[in-house]
């Protein structure tokens, strides 16, 4: 059995396990019942990985989770073994599903954003020191995500409680430096708009009203501490995050 021949056999087996069917001639002679068992174990393991990243999403799906997970697996074979990659695939699948609770896409989006943040390498969040002497650059921290939601999904995200209130909330998903996990905070609409504009470095001159006002500067620093923003001195371009 040469490499190409073995690889063909392995590809047929993987296809059979992913789709609970197929495999064709290459798998002739292998006990179909045992292949079904391995397919079931493989599927259960994958769903466990996704559930570990998306607990609130699965709580909201309730009894429908099993049926949806089967349809998901049939359409989206695993491209990667990592749990975050599989959670991302599941999010994309759910986004096209009808008959899901209206708040579910927001819940799943926030959970995937938290999972992606958790999987990023930890980095220092350096901010400029006080007082600010020159121009600074400011931007939303890479990986921090903004989401306008028509429902307040935070109780579901925090404790898998299905206490969803219909009201518009503006959320930011971030990872505070030093924390292994992503977190979700509610912010005001005005700050949401500001943060939306800060996807790239933005220069603040020394006379900018944000830098001149101590309370605004303190808020910016607080956002840096939470991993939402990062600031650096424009002149030195010191590394941050």
């Amino acid at each position: 059995m040469r490499r190409e021949e073995l690889l063909r056999l392995q590809a047929a087996l993987v296809e059979r396990l992913c789709r609970a069917a197929g495999g064709g001639e290459a798998l002739r002679g292998i006990d179909a019942g045992r292949l079904d068992l391995v397919a079931a174990l493989t599927h259960a393991k994958r769903v466990d990985k996704i559930r570990s990243q998306l607990p609130a999403t699965f709580a909201a799906l309730g009894e429908r989770a099993g049926e949806l997970a089967l349809r998901f697996a049939a359409r989206h074979p695993p491209l990667d073994a990592h749990s975050v990659a599989n959670a991302l695939q599941f999010f994309r699948f759910l986004a096209r599903e009808r008959d899901c609770p209206p708040f579910l896409p927001d819940v799943c989006y926030c959970e995937v954003a938290m999972a992606c943040l958790g999987a990023r390498a930890a980095a220092d969040a350096r901010t400029v020191s006080t007082p600010v002497r020159g121009a600074v650059e400011i931007r939303r921290r890479p990986g921090a995500r903004l989401r306008r939601c028509e429902y307040d999904i935070r109780p579901l995200l925090a404790a898998q409680r299905l206490e969803i209130e219909k009201r518009t909330v503006f959320l930011v998903v971030c990872r505070p430096p030093g924390s292994p996990f992503g977190k979700v905070f509610e912010i005001g609409e005005g700050m949401f708009e500001v943060l939306s504009e800060l996807g790239r470095w933005h220069v603040l001159e020394p006379d900018d009203e944000w830098l001149a006002d101590e309370s605004t500067l303190a808020s910016l620093r607080r956002f840096c501490e939470l991993g939402i923003l990062e600031m650096r001195e424009a002149a030195t371009r010191c590394a941050s995050a």
């Binding site: 059995m1 040469r2 490499r3 190409e4 021949e5 073995l6 690889l7 056999l9 392995q10 590809a11 087996l13 993987v14 296809e15 396990l17 992913c18 002739r28 002679g29 292998i30 006990d31 045992r34 292949l35 068992l37 391995v38 174990l41 493989t42 393991k45 994958r46 990985k49 570990s52 074979p77 695993p78 491209l79 990667d80 073994a81 990592h82 975050v84 958790g118 999987a119 990023r120 390498a121 930890a122 990872r175 292994p180 996990f181």
Partner: protein, 265 residues
């Protein structure tokens, strides 16, 4: 005697690390989850550790992933691992990764392919490599060798040691109707570098490896039998779920220690 470190159980495990001689670190946890890296490395600094992998897919009939091996090599250096173990299995083919350990057809040609892949791995990682026997639930009609014969051939051709998973041996022997002690008897002296034990479940009359139950009595008996013939560096209890029942895990650790003590020279 030690346990497999799982980042999600770190909070519960850390206060009890002093009850262990060693921990086994899964290198893939550190590679795929940098957020957990510092915590795992802190544990490695506190006590001796051994390194285990789940993402190599050494049995895939394609060249090993060099980028992944670079990450493994860096991680092994950080951990200070004396050796590195992986599974005699495949989990992926180009474009698909099922994350499930799958067996190979037991043929001399497949053994040769694995040995070639292992040569590349050994050049990369810089520490001795051990291969673990997996649990398997079906047979390929192409297989011409017995399980022990195939594993022995791969290890001879590759120069690797054996990480003997006694739970896998127990359930394979039960599911495929052979004598586990004959398997142990067939192993060359000094071949077993490390041991894994765990607990599984029975499903539709088939024993399944789940790593979420206490170690069953027959596995303890196999360990006792093994230690009269081999001298592994480490015995690791693997638990992947149900961490809220951590006392069960440490009860099993106590039992492992008793068996080791009763076989001390």
């Amino acid at each position: 005697v030690g346990i497999g470190f799982r980042p999600e159980a770190r909070g519960a495990l850390e206060p009890r690390l002093a009850e262990l001689d060693t921990v086994e670190i899964v290198v893939d946890d550190l590679i795929s989850d940098p957020a957990q890296r510092d915590g795992a490395l802190a544990v490695c600094r506190r006590m001796p550790s051994v390194a285990h992998g789940v993402g190599l897919s050494i049995g895939t009939a394609a060249a090993p992933d060099v980028r992944y091996l670079d990450q493994v090599a860096r991680t092994l250096e950080e951990i200070g691992a004396p050796w590195y173990s992986e599974h005699l299995a495949f989990t992926k083919v180009p474009g698909r990764d099922v994350g499930q350990l799958l067996p190979l057809p037991r043929t001399p040609a497949a053994a040769e392919i694995v040995a070639e892949n292992l040569a590349a791995v050994r050049r990369h990682v810089g520490v001795p490599v051990a291969l673990e026997n997996i649990s398997y639930y079906f047979e390929y009609p192409e297989s011409t060798l017995g399980e022990a014969e195939f594993i022995g051939l791969v290890l001879r051709e590759s120069g690797c040691g054996l990480l003997l998973d006694l739970e896998n041996l127990y359930l394979n022997a039960t599911n495929h109707r052979y004598e586990a002690r004959d398997f142990i008897d067939s192993l060359a002296p000094g071949l077993v570098k490390g041991v894994h034990v765990a607990g599984g479940v029975q499903r539709d009359g088939i024993l399944v490896d789940t790593h979420d139950r206490p170690v069953p009595e027959p596995v303890f008996e196999l360990l006792d039998y093994l230690l009269k013939r081999q001298a592994p560096d480490s015995i690791i209890l693997e638990r992947d779920q149900e961490f809220e029942r951590l006392d069960e895990v440490f009860d099993d650790v106590t039992r492992l220690r008793q068996i080791v003590a009763s076989n001390a020279p």
